[in-house]
Amino acid sequence: MKTPLRRLGTLAAFAAATSLVLTGCGREDEGDKNVAGITSEPCPDAVNEDNGCIYLGIITDMTGPFSPIGGPMVQGAQAFWKMVNEAGGIGGYDVDVTKYVKDNTYNETTHAQLYQEMEGDILMLAHSMGTAHTNAILEDARDSDIVVLPASLGSNWLFEDGVMHIGTSYCAEGMNMVDYAVDTLGAESVGVVHWPGDYGDDSANGAKIAAEARGIDVFDYTTGQGGADAQTGVISGILQDKPDVVVIATSAVEVGTIIGMTAAQGYQGKFIGAIPSWSGALLGNADLAPALQAMYLHASSIPAWSADTPGHQEMRDYVGDIEPNDWFAVGWAGSHAIKALLEQAIADDKLNRAGVVETLNAMEGVDSKGMLPDGDGHYAGDANENAIRSTLLNVPDASAATGLTQSVEPFVGPTAQDYEFTEACYLMK
């Protein structure tokens, strides 16, 4: 009779034999990673049946706090590539930005999981929502030679290879917000409301760097996601400290709550919000709208929907009668950079993952028809010199198509002008 030990021995021998068999036969090689994301077959629902297909991945927030941003940005990118495909595509390929579109719910673990699921099927990640979220996948993307365009403006992107960053970083934007508060609004103290984490900390640290450089008082209010219940600490802090200006780096949900409730309790300072802090839906709240119009300024580096540039005009002409949205315009604008990258890679006969990375590292600019800030799309050379530093300001305007009107032309404040970027601002304690 066999003892349990002998049976386990048999099992172990069986497992060893199985493993030996397995090491002898691998699965058929399913393709070189260098051509992953590119097929000679047409795209699904192709505009040009004779063209091959380039697949770009998108991981965005469709149901979380930044869903008012993620959805329209993706629609903007999809409309842009539809226009390009209808004009014949690029280099014999149509570009697909619809097959690999996933919702990360603004959760970094989900983001990493979704990336792993699409990694083998895309040429590059054309939209990766969230700074920490994109950080979570960046090393893997680099290992697989996948270029990533973050839908995030962390200052860390300046120092990361394989990242196609556009616009002014949250950090430089934070500096400009404080410089504007000091120079134009006469602020002698500033409050900094921000989420913990890479986005909020990047903006807050930029603001603190400027506040220190300008010699004004600064109050830090770190807060979590959510409405009134989650914001009581911040609201009472602002009411108690009474900073002249509050810089705010959260989502629109927190902006609406904090401005509405501080205004209702007599606070009369100004708020300047980072680029992701705005949603046109805020103006839909009749009780909140007057306070927003009186107290809120929205910082950005990418002009809004109604901007007077050839690129914006082309976008408006193409999409025709749709509901205007500033984030749609940002998604469209960013796609100009990707198109320039892919066209250059095709021209250099480097249309594969490694070739696209190589092309990105040599890029010295993008013709975005005026949609992106001057100097954007420059990735070759020194990170500090490549940093975009300009910020424009919008004000809520119920009569404007998207609820925002540009009130201050792009400017670079004295702090951002002289600042030398040597590391990600959010890492500074």
């Binding site: 497992a15 990673k33 149901t63 990493a112 083998g120």
Partner: protein
């Protein structure tokens, strides 16, 4: 053929206590397990990577589910705090294996068995600390107290950003490097294949260990404590001692599960170890079958496959949308399925998937007189 051999080949007839309590007490079980292991080992050559990812996750969850089944199914101590122990394991292992120069705490010990054990041991230590609660509480009261652990854990994980990366940031999971080969990187085999085999081997090891534990004196003591701890005490079984063992072993399994759970994902955040994860483990045990090791594995596989099942449902139920902004969508369907499965199994098959399998087995055993 000798009489002894004939008797041995009869099902349900054991000629000795040792044989009845054997790990594989019938020839059919022995052959069945061998066949199952062979099929499982060959699966990566036959199945696409996306399915392997689901199966791999299922196997890791199964290790955690076996742990919960040990404390809840076998020893009768209801625990809703399993997610906390999984979290402790995840953070301990990733800290041990983490880059000392990285943003979060790391000790640079990349030897895989070391960080898996570290995850298990750290969680087991927490189990030892929590176990005394179980000696003073039972039933619903113990459930509520262990529920509290999840909330305490969530707070600690969010606040201790040097270890966890903090809310909204997270940290890297440990890298499984075996004989110099990073299993999360494609080489001759894809990362999904390699991780699948790793998880399969670990699941086999931990399932066998658990099976051995529950058929030993300790397992019988667990059952005695579960059925009536006062009576167990009268029989000479020390309930406090066995509750301590149950919580410690269960937490160890949860810690090992945590150390492996995000290896394929490579990154995880503090929000993962909330009440939902605890509920998922309870669902695995209830759906799979309480007090069965194979049931825990079946339950974990089913729960891991639920997102895929709900997305496949859209091919048949076209009113279910794949878009998260439309209703009803696959994510809502998945959530409803968790609840529906728990309710359905408790009502119609309290022994879970194991019970279903048992019915099928009994049907064929008595065929053609099955009624």
């Amino acid at each position: 053929m000798s009489t002894r051999t004939i008797l041995q080949s009869r099902p349900e007839l054991y000629t000795g206590y040792g044989r009845e309590m054997g790990l594989f007490n019938t020839r059919a079980k022995w052959i069945g397990v061998l066949a199952l292991v062979a099929v499982a080992a060959a699966l990566p050559m036959l199945v696409a990577d996306d399915l392997l990812r689901i199966l791999g996750t299922g196997m890791v969850l199964a290790i955690g589910a076996i742990g919960l089944n040990l404390v809840t199914g076998y020893a009768g101590q209801i625990s809703l705090g399993h997610a906390f122990f999984v979290g402790v394991g995840a953070y301990a292992s990733s800290a041990v294996a983490g880059d000392p120069e990285g943003r979060t705490l790391g000790f640079g010990v990349t030897f895989m068995p070391a960080w898996i054990l570290a995850g298990g041991l750290a969680a087991a230590l927490c189990g030892v600390i929590v176990a005394p609660l179980a000696t003073r509480l039972r039933g619903l009261y113990l459930a509520i107290v262990t529920l509290g652990l999840v909330f305490i854990g969530t707070y600690i994980f969010n606040a201790w950003s040097d270890l966890t990366g903090g809310p909204g940031v997270g940290r890297e999971a440990a890298r499984p490097i075996l004989l110099g080969d990073d299993l999360t990187r494609d080489s001759s085999y894809t990362s999904e294949q390699k991780l699948y085999w790793l998880f399969l081997v670990l699941l086999l090891v931990f399932a066998l260990l658990a099976r051995n534990l529950v058929r030993s004196q300790v397992g019988r003591a667990f059952a005695a404590v579960r059925d009536r701890d006062v009576a167990a005490g009268v029989m000479g079984v020390n309930p406090s001692r066995y509750k301590l063992i149950a919580f410690t072993v269960s937490s160890f399994y949860a810690g090992v599960c945590g150390s492996l759970l995000y290896v394929a994902n490579r990154h995880f955040g503090a929000e993962q170890f909330g009440l939902l994860l605890s509920i998922q483990f309870v669902a695995m045990v209830l759906i799979g079958g309480a007090a069965t090791i194979s049931g825990s594995i079946m339950g974990a596989m089913l729960i891991a496959a639920l997102p895929r099942i709900s997305s496949e449902l859209t091919n048949y139920a076209t009113f279910i949308s794949t878009s998260p902004v439309e209703h009803p969508n696959v994510f809502e369907t998945e959530a409803v399925m968790y609840g529906a499965l728990i309710v359905a199994f408790l009502l119609f098959e309290p022994r879970g998937l194991f019970g279903l399998w048992h019915r099928i087995r009994t049907y064929w055993k008595s065929f053609p007189f099955s009624y």
